[in-house]
């Protein structure tokens, strides 16, 4: 492991922790927030427009479809961030139970599912035009499908309880357990399973640091930030809706 790799992984961890911490602030924020919501809109719209217009390096096989980098990858990043926030809420729930934390964990997980489905859809569309098939038995794709199944199971589990406290506690436990048992592997397995068609793996020319020239980075990073902010925004709105509904039911 070189020094740059160590610096890279340490700063990656630091940014993830900061993202989870900041994400909670943003999801729980009430009132205001015009600045970051405006920034999210600006970044997503700007990166989408620039994503179609900016010149990209002409690589074999992927060609112009490399532009999917500006849409597909930020969605997965945003999914991982919002799911991490959901797991953190579940951990907090187990430490001191409250209906509020349960709602926040549930709504964050649902937002993550939506982003995961968007990621699957853009990936599948891309694969149709680059590989010629909607779905291939690739390690990366299997991992994505497993992640969706896990969160589907989370929703089924939530649906099978009558008692609210019981539901909150048991689903928090499953959320943490599933995340700890399966999500890290989704990053490890593709590296273990040898040949893969997925860009960044062995098969196609990847979007890794050698190919990602600076014009692409200038669009890619803003898109990532924009989509992550958007995910927190969605989680905020949906949890506020649930809180209002709970308040209404009480009255």
């Amino acid at each position: 492991m070189t020094t740059s790799a160590i610096i890279g992984s340490v700063s990656g961890v630091a940014m993830t922790v900061a993202g989870v911490w900041g994400g909670q602030r943003l999801v729980e924020q009430r009132g205001g927030g015009t600045l970051w919501k405006g920034l999210a809109v600006l970044l997503i719209v700007g990166a989408s427009v620039a994503g179609f217009l900016t010149p990209v390096p002409a690589l074999p096989i992927v060609n112009e479809s490399i532009r999917n980098l500006f849409f597909h990858v930020p969605m997965w990043f945003a999914m991982i961030m919002v799911l991490l926030v959901s797991v953190w809420y579940s951990i907090r729930y187990l430490r001191e139970p409250s209906a509020r934390l349960d709602v926040l964990a549930h709504e964050s997980a649902k937002t993550g599912i939506v982003l995961g489905l968007l990621g699957l859809a853009t990936g599948s569309l891309w694969a149709r035009f680059t590989w010629g098939a909607w779905w291939t038995p690739d390690p990366r794709l299997n991992g994505a499908a497993v992640a969706m199944l896990i969160y589907g199971a989370y929703l089924v589990l939530r649906g099978s309880f009558q008692d609210e406290q019981q539901r909150a506690r048991v689903s928090a436990i499953y959320n943490i357990f599933a995340f700890a048992a399966a999500i890290p592997l989704l990053f490890v397995l593709p590296r273990l399973s040898g040949p893969s068609l997925h860009p960044g793996q062995t098969g196609n020319p990847g979007f890794n640091q050698y190919d990602l020239d600076n014009t692409m980075r200038k669009v890619f990073y803003p898109a990532v930030i924009g989509w992550i902010l958007f995910a927190f925004w969605v989680a905020q709105v949906s949890s506020r809706y649930v809180f209002l509904k709970l308040k209404h039911d009480e009255q």
């Binding site: 497993v146 199971a153 089924v156 589990l157 048991v170 357990f177 048992a181 989704l186």
Partner: protein, 224 residues
């Protein structure tokens, strides 16, 4: 060490209960035996043993479903009153560790028996038997650790626990199964052991992660 004594008492209780209600154990053995026999009957239509990939896939499907059936009854056969009674006697860590150890032993026995019956009926194309058996044992260990907590969760939900357990457990076991099937394919083909080394280490690490998470999370599940 009071924890160790609690674990051994609970283990002895589980074995005694299993022995008294032999129907469950017998049902499990019959399940493995009859699925292997059905495979044998359907492959004998085309003369003898299946090709190695099919052999491998079927073995793991049989073991997966046997594991779900074996572990499912663990927490579900206990009534809420019984749970409350244990709660006053022992600490929750002892309960989950005893249950995991019990399930590991049970699934190891089922896996070895399944492999024996399977090779008797469907032939033995394994070229590297020690690696295959090691992998099988790691599989039993992994299934037991993952499914024990899942069965605890499903038991809390009540109602159709076994269905819920399959829904909750399968996605968690897919990454594990992918590794297991890959290593057992390597053992079937007699590939160099260096090829499988990394996957085996990942399996071991995965088992430890799952075991540690179960140990930490179970007290919260138990409290309800």
């Amino acid at each position: 060490m009071p924890l160790l004594r609690e674990i051994s008492t609970l283990l002895a209780k589980d074995f005694r209960l299993e022995w008294r209600q032999r129907a469950a154990l017998g049902g499990l053995l019959l399940y493995v035996g009859s699925t292997v026999f059905v495979c044998f009957l359907s492959f004998s239509l085309r003369g003898g043993t299946p090709p190695p990939p099919a052999w491998n896939a079927l073995l793991w499907v049989i073991l997966l479903f046997a594991a779900i059936n074996a572990v499912a009854k663990g927490f579900m056969q206990e009534s809420p009153g019984q749970r409350l009674y244990y709660y006053t006697l022992v600490r929750p860590q002892a309960v989950i560790l005893a249950k995991i150890i019990y399930n590991v032993l049970l699934l190891t026995a089922v896996a070895l028996l399944g492999l024996f019956l399977y090779t008797v009926f469907l032939g033995n194309p394994i070229q590297d038997l020690p690696l295959f058996v090691t992998n099988l044992l790691l599989g039993a260990l992994g299934f037991a650790t993952t499914l024990t907590l899942v069965s605890g969760i499903a038991a809390k939900a009540g109602g159709n626990g076994a269905t819920l357990m399959a829904i909750l457990g399968f996605p968690l076991m897919v990454p594990m199964l992918l590794l297991l099937i890959k290593v057992s394919k390597n053992a079937l083909d007699g590939l160099d052991r260096g090829v499988s080394q990394q996957s085996l280490l990942t399996l071991l690490a995965l088992n430890m992660i799952v075991g540690a998470t179960s140990y930490v999370l179970f007290p919260f599940l138990w409290r309800g």
